[in-house]
Amino acid sequence: MKKLIKQTLKLTLGNSRYFSLSNSSAFVLDPWYITGLVDGEGS
């Protein structure tokens, strides 16, 4: 089990898509993302 968790985290940390957050393409918003954001913060 611990080995599996380590493997999961290793894969996670190696996910380049996750770490390319400053790319402007990241802010092309999905319509469901927008609704979720508004459910949390909008008025």
Partner: protein, 278 residues
């Protein structure tokens, strides 16, 4: 929706409607993303370090904002606020507002967000607040990207450090992921248990809010972190998630039980959430 006195108007009142969302200035790019997506509205300075995206033109609300939320409906009880605002805009779009329509708008306003101000209550004693529809929670409606957006707003990635006499270092370290909302959305928060396949719901002591929480390290490592790697956060909270993942990696390797590893976790924790300076 705002109803305020204006002697220049035929009925003596001006009615303004708007859709807005306020975020910390560090999430300005997210607000720009909203503006770009909708193609209408503006971004303005709000209180403190907050900025807000606002759409106040009834034409834009009618043609852009309402169709979006009709197609991608709000899942929380905020959906009832949307329905009230939509009804108000339908009245406004009819043209000149009659005294009866003005009272109908006040009745709607009385059920919107925090209700009527004491001033409006005194000016409109005949007000009967409209009944808010209870938005039913449908488990199948939880789209992964909706969950990402909701987490961007309400999620919390937390590293807890507590005194623990049994531990070699005298402290214990734990991770927690939580989603918080008004207690009226308890069913929605409980829905995350099935969605993520882990966690629990807990109402806060004040009964006003509740939390979906995941405290198990195994669930965080095997379910929560992989989910957000598949569906990444976009705003500043993604930096907290990154730090959270770094701490999880240290814990998975038992590094938190060593002086060096624990020191690293403390450093990560200090730079997260409210401790983040960029």
């Amino acid at each position: 929706m705002c109803i305020s006195k204006d002697s220049k108007r035929p009925l003596g009142y001006v009615i303004t409607v708007a859709f807005e969302i306020a975020l910390d200035v560090k999430d300005l790019d997210t607000l720009k993303g909203l503006q770009s997506y909708f193609g209408v509205g503006g971004i303005y300075k709000h209180v403190g370090n907050m900025m807000r995206y606002k759409v106040s033109s009834t034409k834009d609300l009618t043609n852009v904002i309402i169709p979006h939320f009709d197609k991608y409906p709000l899942l929380s009880q905020k959906g009832a606020d949307f329905e009230i605002l939509k009804s108000a805009i339908q009245i406004i779009n009819k043209g000149v507002v009659s005294p009866e329509q003005l009272q109908a708008l006040v009745n709607l306003r009385a059920s919107l967000n925090r209700g009527l101000s004491s001033n409006l209550q005194a000016l409109f004693p005949e007000t009967v607040p409209v009944k808010r529809r209870v938005i039913p929670f449908v488990a199948s409606s939880l789209h992964p990207l909706w969950v990402v957006g909701f987490t961007e707003a309400e999620g919390n990635f937390y590293i807890g450090v507590t005194q623990d006499a049994k531990s070699k270092l005298g402290v214990s370290t734990r991770l927690r992921f939580a989603l918080t909302q008004h207690s009226r959305d308890e069913k929605l928060l409980q829905g995350f248990i099935d969605f993520f396949g882990c966690g629990l719901y807990a109402e806060r002591n004040n009964k006003l809010a509740g939390d979906f929480k995941v405290n198990s390290f195994e669930d965080i490592s095997r379910k929560i972190i992989p989910f957000f790697c598949k569906y990444p956060l976009l705003g500043s909270k993604s930096l907290d998630l990154k730090a959270f993942i770094e701490a999880a990696k240290i814990i998975s390797e038992k590094g938190h039980l060593t002086k060096e590893g624990f020191g690293e976790i403390e450093r990560i924790k200090a730079g997260m959430n409210k401790g983040r300076t960029h």
